[in-house]
Amino acid sequence: MRILRFFIYLFCATAFASLLSAPISSFFSLYWIDTYVDSVSVADIVFTLLSDIFNYGPTLFLIYLIGFLPTFIIGTPLLSYFKIRSVIIFGLLGLCSVMVSIFLVQEVIIGTKVISGSRTSFGLALHYLTGFFAGLYFAGTYKNKLSANFIFSSVVVILLFIVAPKMLNIFSQ
């Protein structure tokens, strides 16, 4: 049961990082359009944000999982063994995970910068930062027991991610 709980919270931390990262892409694409092409309206911002969270978020989740899985599977028991309980260390683990994920996907696996918003040093730094916060989130949750509320909320979020992209697609056409 502890292992199951560990993985559920690890997936949640990955989802948390993805959720924080998706708007970085929205920000960079809208900023460029607003600065160099034409002004964007509030409706454009809302649509882009929702679209990126629901359509781009799952891609980020898979990419981040490449780093989060090995890092926390190895890192968490090691930290426990050495009795290191600093949440900052978990944050740094999260940061390193995102760094490794982005590096592997962009430079080794695909060879181009597929992660929108990461094409500038500032954008990359923001992505790393989301990894740091995801690490803190994981440190704060992974020892908690699973509550019915938590399971219910997770199911609602998963359903939302299945339904919302289709709704947005209909709306955009």
């Binding site: 929205s26 359009i33 781009y56």
Partner: protein
């Protein structure tokens, strides 16, 4: 009972007509396999020049599919990702001067060198001319080097065609990581280029007198244009969108085709590139594909063998694995999908001198198929 029989009869007729429609060609494989074939150009009724991305230029017999000779003197190319030897076209006066033009990607350590990438060298799109003397390229001259330096070996464009005034039209892709540059005129990312055969700039190019604009630019706001046809001096091109948003356009001088400010697409990752599909001052495509078919080569068919397809555009598709036939009626595009069950990534499409259709498939081990009625 009779109603049921009628329905069954019509169902059989319908299914058989679908079957016939799918197999209305005789398909013959030309030769064995080729190494990443990209384009070809007929030098006579039976022989064609074939470019292979690793940097090979070969003369092949259409009849037997055999290699007649490999052309010597091809410059070093960067064969990586989408890069390599690309288009090859003959000079309109080839029978007299034996001149050919070809595009390729290659490393470039001069201007604009990028140093932020550990794995890939700075490279760009080149176009060269040379004379085919015997089996050797002579008088090789680089006539265009795109100011579109990138480290990712992607989105070169690389198609070449001639206008009736003898100038060359070249497609230069957006380099993938440099998509925003397609909207600026100080570089060659995402541009259609017009130059003279010697590399000089025609004086009537649209941005020739504009400050901070490169004079070779003919139109801008493009992505990765891999299909180019010129007919009666009208330029038709098709280009890859990312996830959705492949386009078929008529290109006019000085116009902005919108990428990446407007697009019927999202990025491969699912991220929004832009919330806009149209904007003032930016051209709409004649048609677009959503989902993407990844349009590659394009040709305008003469109607020599398939009479009913005269003046149809044929577009080969990579991820779509189809051959698309487009007709233009008063600015409206109608599409027929052919070779649905062929299941090959199609790199390019050509018409043979006798009017058959020639298809190149993609990748190492690529094949050439001749379709006849």
């Amino acid at each position: 009972m009779s109603s049921l029989l009628n329905k069954t009869f019509f169902l059989i007729i319908f299914l058989s007509s679908q079957f016939i429609k799918s197999y209305e060609f005789n398909i013959r494989q030309v030769g064995d396999t080729f190494d990443d074939p990209w384009s070809l150009a007929f030098i006579d009724e039976d022989k064609f020049l074939l470019s292979e991305m690793p940097g090979n230029l070969k003369v092949i017999s259409l009849d037997t599919g055999e290699l007649i000779y490999s052309v010597k003197g091809v410059p070093q190319v960067l064969y990586d990702g989408q890069g390599g030897l690309s288009d090859v076209v003959l000079d309109p006066k080839f029978s007299e001067n034996k001149k050919i033009y070809f595009s390729y990607s290659a490393e470039d350590t001069e201007e604009g060198q990028l140093v932020d990438d550990l794995f890939s060298p700075s490279n760009t799109l080149f176009v060269a001319s040379a004379s085919l003397v015997g089996d050797t390229l002579k008088d090789l001259e680089i006539i265009f080097k795109a100011k579109a330096y990138r480290t990712a070996p992607a989105h070169y464009g690389g198609k070449i065609a001639f206008l009736s005034d003898g100038t060359l039209i070249i497609t230069s892709g957006d380099g993938y990581n440099n998509k925003e540059d397609a909207q600026f005129l100080d570089n060659h990312f995402g541009k259609i280029i017009r130059i003279n055969p010697d590399g000089s700039v025609p004086s009537d190019n649209p941005f020739v007198d504009q400050d901070n604009a490169l004079p070779e630019i003919y139109s801008y706001g493009h992505r990765n244009m891999q299909g180019l046809v010129i007919s009666n001096d009208v330029i038709y091109e098709n280009e890859h969108g990312p996830k959705g948003g492949d386009e078929f356009n008529i290109v006019e001088p000085g116009k902005n085709y919108g990428w990446p400010a407007i697009c019927y697409c999202v990025d491969y990752s699912g991220a929004q590139i832009t919330p806009f599909t149209e904007m003032e001052g930016m051209e709409q495509p004649l048609t677009y594909w959503r989902p993407s078919i990844a349009p590659s080569g394009m040709m305008l068919y003469s109607g020599k063998k398939f009479k009913e397809w005269k003046d149809s555009f044929f577009i080969s598709a990579l991820s779509g694995k189809i051959l698309s036939r487009l007709t233009l009626n008063n600015g409206k595009v109608e599409e027929e999908i052919l070779l649905k069950d062929f299941n090959e990534r199609l790199r390019n499409v050509y018409e043979t001198p006798s009017g058959n259709i020639l298809l190149l498939t993609d990748g190492p081990g690529g094949k050439i198929f001749e379709l006849s009625p």
